[in-house]
Structures are given as structure tokens and as C-alpha cells.
Amino acid sequence: MANAMLIDESRCMGCRGCQVACKQWNDNPAEDTLNWGTYENPPELSGITWTRIKFSEKVEGDQVRWLFLKQGCMHCTQASCEAVCPTGAVRHQGQYVLVDQEWCIGCGYCVAACPFDAIHSVFEARDGGEEKATAKKCTFCVDRTTNGLPPACVKTCPAGALQWGDRNEMVAKGKERVAALQAGGRARANLYGEGELGGLHRLYVLVDEPSGYGLPAAPRYATSSVGAQWLSGIVTAGVLAAVPFWLLFKRQRAQEAKEEASGGGEQ
């Protein structure tokens, strides 16, 4: 039975308790940040910040409204990070997508491949500078959830915006909530994550279009066209072999043959 997290963004109030709970349970240090003119903090997810509330400002008439989004790993069924990992360190274990910290070589390919920007390299202080280490991200608190406890963020959410449970049940609850929001006048309310990338294990009840939150409307599986990409490189080499190389050297060969023939005539 796959579990999933249901995130009701219509209930989120942006308190960021989930961020603190996540840091505490997973023993992640604080980020060194400066006030950059918003309550949003830290500025982005990182190897030591696995969840974060993103504040999107939406202008409606003369009103500015905030859209809150609890960012983090979606534990996609078709996980791009898993697909591109050259050593197999990132892999599925049930619904969890986990990074084997003993096997990860810290190449950073998963960071470039993730459609949700949810996995990052940890930068460790070494020799006076910062050096890239392994990749880390949300684990759905695998140590808690495999022992019957909800993830730390779910446990702590004071607004009741987070739920953890059987995925089918979470999908049904999400749909129910979307219907209620739509009936209450939030016409653009929708459920995100049910079918994206084979089904995400983080489901969102959104009150606006996914793009309003900065979520990709159609997230792309990084390796979806990898065969065709290789082919376009190989075909280019083939075409360039014909033009100019074959054309030019065919001419040179013909010229040489002619010279040889005329040279033979003189003898």
C-alpha cells in the first residue's frame, strides 16, 4: 500500500512550522540568509533545506493575494533523479525515492534533472571553502513513516493543511476538497499530482492554476527523449561526414586521379 502526503494549500497559512519540524527531525542545520524583502525564507530549497513554503504573489484587481506552496520532493513514480543517476544511488523503495548516501558520488546530475528543483547537492565547509558533497532531499521521514508515525511536517502543521495516509484515500480526500472549494466559488481549484509523472506521492489541493504557484503544468521526465537526443547527435555527425568531408575529399581524389593519369601520359 503506497502512502502519500496530501497538501491542502487552501488551508496553509504560511507559518513555516513544517520547515522547522523538518530541520529538527532530520538534523539539518540552519541556512545563513539575509532579509531580502519577503517573509519567504530561506530563498530556495537546498541540500539542507528539504521543505520550504514558497510565497507567490498574485494580483487580482487591486488586491494582492499570496499563494503558499509547500515545496519538496514529490517522490514521483517516474523519478527523473533516479533515471539519470549514473550509479543507481537514487532509487525507489516502495513509494519512497531515496538517495543512498553511501553510494552517491556527488555528481549533481539529479539536481539538473529534477523537474521540481527538489534535490540538491550538500555543500560542506572543507579546507576553508565550500565543496560539493552528496545529494540530499526529503525522505518522507522514512525513519518515522516506516514505524507508523506521520512525517515530521505533517505532525507539526497547526493549520491541518497536511495529511499522510493511503494514496487512494488521499486522492479521494483531495478531490472532495477541490469540489468543496469549487462549490464555494474557487472555480480554479484543482488537484495536482494525481497523474503527473505516473502519479506523485505528494498531492496538492491548489486554489489556482499550477503555474500560478510556479509548478510545471506538464512536468517532464528528464529521460523521456534520451534516445532521440542521442540520435540527433549521431545524425549530425553523419550529415557532416557527407557534407563537407565526403564532397571535398571526393573532389581532391578525383583531381589526384586526373593528375596521375596525365602524368602517366607524359612518361
Partner: protein, 315 residues
Amino acid sequence: MTWEWPIAIDLWVAGIAGGAYFAAFVMNLFTGRKHELLLKVAVFISVPLVLLGSLLLVVDLGEQLRAWHLFTRFRLGSPMSMGSWILLTYALIGIVMIALWWTESFEPGEVRLTVISGLASVIRPAAAAVRVLAWIELVLAVLLMSYTGVLLSTSNQPLWAGTFLLPVLFVASAIFTGTALLLLVLKTGVGRLLDLLFGGEGEPIPNETMDAIRNAMAIVGVVELVVLLGYIVGLALFSTPAAASAVATIIRGPLSFLFWAGAVLVGLLIPLVLLFASMMAKREALVGSVLASTSLVLLGGFFLRLVVVLGGQMV
């Protein structure tokens, strides 16, 4: 930023290596194997480049001592896994080819340094395998060039993922820069020196051949320029808004100087003008013009990789 200049240098030198071998192989093939020396020179210069690129890849890893984990898996879907295998086998086969060529410099029964000639006589019977290895190396060279583009395009960064033209652009640039290095090495005589060092005859390359290489290079450069234009325009106008803003960081933003001055002007426009001027002159290419154009092409290839690698991670 996860990927910085070491990755850009790797993509650059891997492209040059693959491009030089590819160009040398097809030129040798299309002239009825009259230019074995070209092929030798290409292997001599591409193997160290591939080793350098691989070294930089390891340096860039977060856990360098675990680099061997790469060779415990063969993952077709992961261009980095494929790329590691390609770099490794390309270098190994290149080294074997050099060793086999080198045994040819020994006369059978000749007594030189005992250990070395003994070694040479052991591998000498396999010398005929060079032809087969050369074909395998060609396949690897094409994959090596493609890998530099596919590595980036198999991702979710807007500048890299939204287009099929990135592998096309990098392959074109690989062949352009590879031909440039080949021509530079031949024109300066380093190629003959390398050949002599490894036991070859050190025969000179005829000027017509060098001019033909220059002409081929000029045409590849024009193709690359067109592809680059298509890549930029395609992303800016026909892709996602994220891709359009990624393009803006390249053509107007912080990377614009590196792009316009480095990749476009130094890497393409100036050398193309020099190459075509030398073609029009209808006489043997001047050494200075060849040196200038090939060095600029090589430099420009690096700027292009740097702009694309950094630009992809800036949005």
C-alpha cells in the same frame, strides 16, 4: 551552482577529442587511406584530451574516492553513465592503437632495448587489429561528441532540455574545434614530431591536404553558426517562458559578453572571415592566418560550452 567550469572544460576537450578523431578518420577513409598519419595524429592528441576530461569529471565529483561506483553500473538511460563508459573505452582503445602502431616501428628480429622490443614482439602479431579498432574508435568518437550535448539535454533546465538542437550544436562545435586542433597540430609540425616520436616515418603532410582540411573546417563552422542561431531563436520564440528567460541571461544578461564576444565573435565570426579570406586568396594558406583562426576556434568552443553550462543553471 552544481556544475561549474570543470564540466565546461570536460565537454570542451571531449568534443575536441571526438571531433579530431572523427574528422581524421573520414578524411583518411574518403581519400582511400592515403592519410594514415592524420589518424595517428588524431589518436595521439585525443587520448590525452579524453584523459584530461575524465580527470576533471572526477575532480568535480562531491565524493572523488567513490568515482569507481560509475563502473559498477551500465545504465542506458543515464547519459552520465554512458559517458563514463565511452570516455573509458575511448581512452583504452586509443592507447592500444598507439601501442600497435608503435610496434610497427620495430623491424622483426631487431635488437634494441631488450624489454621494449620483447614487449613489442609480443603484441606485434595483433598489429592488423588496428583497422578494426579504428572503426570501433570512430563509433566511440561519434558517441563521445554526442554525449557532450545529450548530457545536458537530458535534464530539466530550460536552456538544455527544451530542444533537440543542443546535441546538434555540440556535435557541430566538436567537429569544428576538433578539425581546428588537427590543422593547428599539422601546420605547426607538431604532428610530424609526434609521429617521429612514436616510431613513424614523419612524412610531411601535403599542402593540398591541409587546404582541404581548412575548407572542410570553414563549412562546418558555417553549419555551426546556423545551428547556434536556430538554437537561440528556437528557445527564445518557440519554447517555454522559462527557456526564453534563460536565453535572455545569455544574450542580454550577465553572460552576454562571454556569449557575443567569446562564443560568437572569437569562436565563429572572426575565424570564419579568416578562413574564407584564405580560401579566396587561391594560394597556400599563410601559417599566421591558420594559427590565428584555429586558436580562436578552439577558444570560442570553450566559451560556448561555458556559456551553455553556466546559463542553464542561472534561472
